[in-house]
């Protein structure tokens, strides 16, 4: 279980303090799939980075299973079971897909075992293990490899920052299947996905809406989706027109 207690994060911009995350109190219980949504610039990615340790809160505490991890480095948090999939997967020169999966697993996996993780994200593994994790791979391929690295860590809490960003529709269909499968297999861990996509919102146990750095709403999709009308105008094209129509009618 992850708890955020009164977490704030600010930066100095144009000579004045700008608060990107403001006093967030949040609990992510075990065995749940939580989706964080909200308008662009609302602080969602920053919240994910605060959990992974890439950013350090200016105020507040973060606890994992009751242990204060606020002062822990990215490495320590990873070793404590926090997995993080980047919105923009990082590219490397010379590091192969197999190397990255092995690093993630923390052991010298056999090629067959490494391939399991690639197959889980819908990649024909034999074609990919020896490829370099560089720009020769498409955005969708990189994204799926990114997710495979998180799967290979078997994290207590897996955080996915906009997994749908930059991938084609066909890959997206597979992605939903990956998360649905992940959702069924989690028992002692939990999943947090930052997403604008309605189909991802639909598989959530709980949806959290973050706007202007603060929690706006929290609940099941039945509770939260109707409320999204007030923020949907600033969320752009990400909701289907059906949803918007439904909301207007409601």
């Amino acid at each position: 279980m992850l708890e955020m207690k009164n977490v704030s994060f600010g930066v100095l911009a144009d000579g004045s303090d700008k608060e990107i995350v403001r006093g967030v109190n949040l609990t992510i219980p075990d065995g749940k799939l939580i989706v964080i949504t909200g308008p662009n610039g609302g602080g969602k990615s920053t919240l994910a980075k605060l959990i992974a340790g890439i950013e350090v809160p200016t105020d507040g505490k973060i606890l994992l299973d009751g242990e204060d991890i606020t002062g822990m480095s990215v490495t320590e948090r990873a070793r404590h079971g926090i997995g993080f999939a980047f919105q923009q997967p990082v590219k490397f020169k010379g590091i192969r897909v197999l190397d990255l999966i092995r690093i993630a697993a923390g052991k010298r996996l056999s090629v067959a075992d490494a391939c399991e993780y690639l197959s889980a994200v819908g990649l024909c593994a034999r074609d990919y293990v020896d490829r370099e994790v560089n720009a020769s791979l498409s955005g969708g391929e990189l994204k799926r490899i990114e997710i495979a690295t998180v799967l290979a860590r078997h994290p207590r809490l897996a955080v996915f920052d906009e997994p749908e960003a930059g991938i084609d529709l066909w890959s997206f269909q597979n992605l939903i299947a990956v998360f649905e499968h992940l959702r069924k297999t989690i028992s002692d861990g939990s999943i947090m996905i930052i997403s604008h996509q309605e189909r991802i919102l639909n598989i959530a146990d709980e949806i959290i809406v973050l706007k202007d750095g603060a929690l706006q709403a929290r609940g099941t999709k039945e509770e939260v989706l109707p409320l999204l009308g007030s923020v949907v105008a600033t969320m752009g094209e990400c909701y289907s027109t059906e949803r918007r129509k439904g909301e207007t009618q409601a």
Partner: protein, 308 residues
């Protein structure tokens, strides 16, 4: 045959991946002398009579054979200049593995300067692998100055893999190549310097014949206070294609000067150069740290991959 001690065996492993005596033709040079030599029916290795060094004659049409000519030095203060000439017959297809390992535990500088000349016949194919390695904690420097000259006849193909990853204090590498019509040259250089090391690597590749193609790619890492200079010049004297690339990572107070140069003397010479120097990208470190590596472990993985 001179028996090799444990240190010499270890150096052999580093520079030639050799655990035992290699198959095929070989000459193992140890502390200035030939420790072991074998010629084969198609590959003859003979000593030069005028200067120190070897002549390696590879018969036309020789296929799938290899030549190993590793050099190991464990005697502090030894300096040598060696000339090795390779005559590769037409249509031959061979692998040549050279390399030099110096272990210097003494206080005098040890130096091996090897001049390798390759005369590659028509349509012959050569893969040349050269690894340089230094070890030992003496104050004496480990110095390697390889000079490589390549003369490629029509349609020949040469692939060169030059690796110097560790322990060489001072090196000046000079490589020149002249390509006739239809010849192809590929160079992959991997270089890492640390401590106060200094490495200078220069290439001049001349494309003299129609449709000659050259691709010279160097990847290097300069750590601590080390210094590297990479110069690569491609000269197009005919309708030909040339590409040179220098991609470098700097760390600590390392310094690198990259000087790519192109000279087109023919309207249809298509020449390209690329050069990039920078530190390890922060996001690469963070990604690997989210996979549980420390910053230092992440750096090592990034560099190992980069220099693969």
């Amino acid at each position: 045959m001179i028996k090799l001690d444990e240190m010499q065996k270890r150096l052999l492993e580093e520079v030639a991946d050799l655990h035992t005596i290699p198959e095929g033709a070989y000459n193992i040079r140890s502390n200035g002398q030939s420790a072991a030599r074998q010629s084969t029916a198609n590959i003859e290795i003979v000593s030069k009579t005028d200067v120190s060094g070897l002549e390696v004659h590879i018969k036309p049409g020789t296929r799938n054979e290899s030549v190993h000519i590793p050099v190991v030095m464990t005697q502090s203060g030894l300096k040598e200049l060696v000339y090795n000439d390779f005559y590769v017959g037409e249509d031959a297809d061979v692998v040549i593995v050279a390399g030099c390992g110096i272990d210097n535990c003494g206080n005098s500088d040890s130096e091996h300067d090897g001049i390798h000349r390759f005369f590659v016949g028509k349509n012959a194919k050569v893969k040349y692998v050269e690894k340089h390695y230094g070890s030992g904690n003496g104050k004496g420097k480990r110095i390697l100055n390889p000079g490589t000259e390549v003369y490629q006849e029509e349609g020949s193909v040469v692939e060169m893999e030059m690796v110097q990853i560790k322990g060489v204090d001072d090196t000046t590498r000079t490589t020149t190549a002249k390509l006739a019509a239809g010849a192809r040259l590929t160079v992959r250089e991997r270089l890492m310097t640390h401590g106060e090391q200094r490495a200078i690597s220069s290439y001049v590749v001349t494309l003299d014949g129609k449709d000659a193609v050259a691709d010279v790619v160097s990847r290097s890492v300069a750590r601590d206070t080390s210094y590297q200079k990479f110069e690569a010049k491609i000269v197009g004297n005919a309708p030909s294609r040339g590409h040179t690339e220098c991609d470098s990572i700097i760390m600590d107070q390392g310094r690198i000067l990259a000087v790519p140069a192109l000279e087109a003397n023919d309207l249809d010479a298509a020449l390209v150069h690329e050069a990039a120097i920078g530190k390890i990208a922060g996001e690469q470190l963070i990604k690997l740290m989210t996979l549980g590596l420390t910053e230092q472990e992440a750096e090592e993985q990034i560099i190992n991959g980069f220099l693969r």
